[in-house]
Symmetry: C2
Subunit: 189 residues, 2 copies
């Protein structure tokens, strides 16, 4: 990234989300996004293949950071707790101060089937990446996959609640709540 | 469906899966599928929009039957158990005697990113449909979503194991195993 414009991807994302929100994802062009962000099309295409990619700009960073946190974390924690701790740390770092932006993104993705499909793919890839790193720690592929899937399920509930208008609790706290609900739901009667 | 050809969709699916398996999904044409099934293109397009749909022909039936089983089931069961019981009953009825066909389908979908995306979408829609019917019973959207997601996670593990060459246990038994593993993974240390 050139040193004189370190915030281009974030400026492009903010501009894009505002436009998607006001006039719809389909009707927004790259030309409008760069105009609003006061950048050039060239800069846009240096960072993103298309306007859809703007919505997923944090996905690969998210995956890398979660995997790194699990690897660096306390390896005596049970697999599910190891993932939840990593989701908390990375959530605090990447999401907590971007709540309005993330909530807007959430609504845009939820309203568009094609974007939802892409979101499902990214989440499935993230689940597999988490399972892979867990398996290296716990040695069991099935436990690793179940812990990754269960953590992602709790995260999905927490993220949905965090994006609700009027909700003030942190993503961290909402993830702890969702984990407690999951445990209650899954424990034998 | 006309009375004189009640098995056309199944014949088309079997022919398609054999061809996808031997020569790949991309390289197989509808003309080849109908030739192998000894049916016409017209019959094919009466049942399926395209060759991809052949792989998903049981999806809407699966969803309807699972929802119906949950609605008809013992309403004193906890939500997760109600879903697992429905998955067992429907699995016994729809899948158990089609293991070779389903295992072949599983491998074809797993090898193709576009088909995998579609499978993820169908699974997400099934999870939502299960959550909706559970919510009508238990009154709580979050518990309903977590129970649906947890059951689908166990089902995913069970189905993957059931499709493994050499595995002889029933899908029903493998689902019970996966549910036990999930409970162990999720319970607090």
């Amino acid at each position: 990234m050139p040193r004189w414009k370190p915030d281009a991807p974030e400026r492009l994302q903010t501009a894009a989300l505002e436009l998607f929100d006001h006039q719809g994802f389909e009707r927004t062009t790259v030309a409008e996004i760069v105009q609003r962000a006061e950048l050039t099309q060239r800069t846009f295409f240096n960072h993103f293949a298309d306007k859809r990619e703007v919505l997923f700009r944090l996905s690969s960073q998210l995956q890398q950071e979660i995997v790194r946190e699990i690897e660096a974390g306390d390896d005596t924690l049970p697999p599910l707790d190891a993932v939840v701790r990593a989701l908390e740390v990375v959530g605090d770092r990447m999401f907590e101060d971007r709540r309005a932006l993330m909530a807007r993104r959430y609504a845009i993705v939820a309203a568009n089937p094609e974007l939802q499909e892409r979101e499902l793919s990214k989440n499935a890839a993230l689940t597999e990446a988490i399972a892979t790193v867990l398996q290296a720690r716990c040695g069991d592929a099935e436990t690793a996959f179940l812990a990754a899937g269960a953590a992602m399920l709790a995260q999905q509930v927490a993220f949905r609640n965090w994006c609700r208008p009027g909700e003030t609790r942190t993503l961290h706290d909402l993830l702890q709540d969702a984990l407690r609900s999951l445990r209650t739901t899954v424990e034998p009667a």
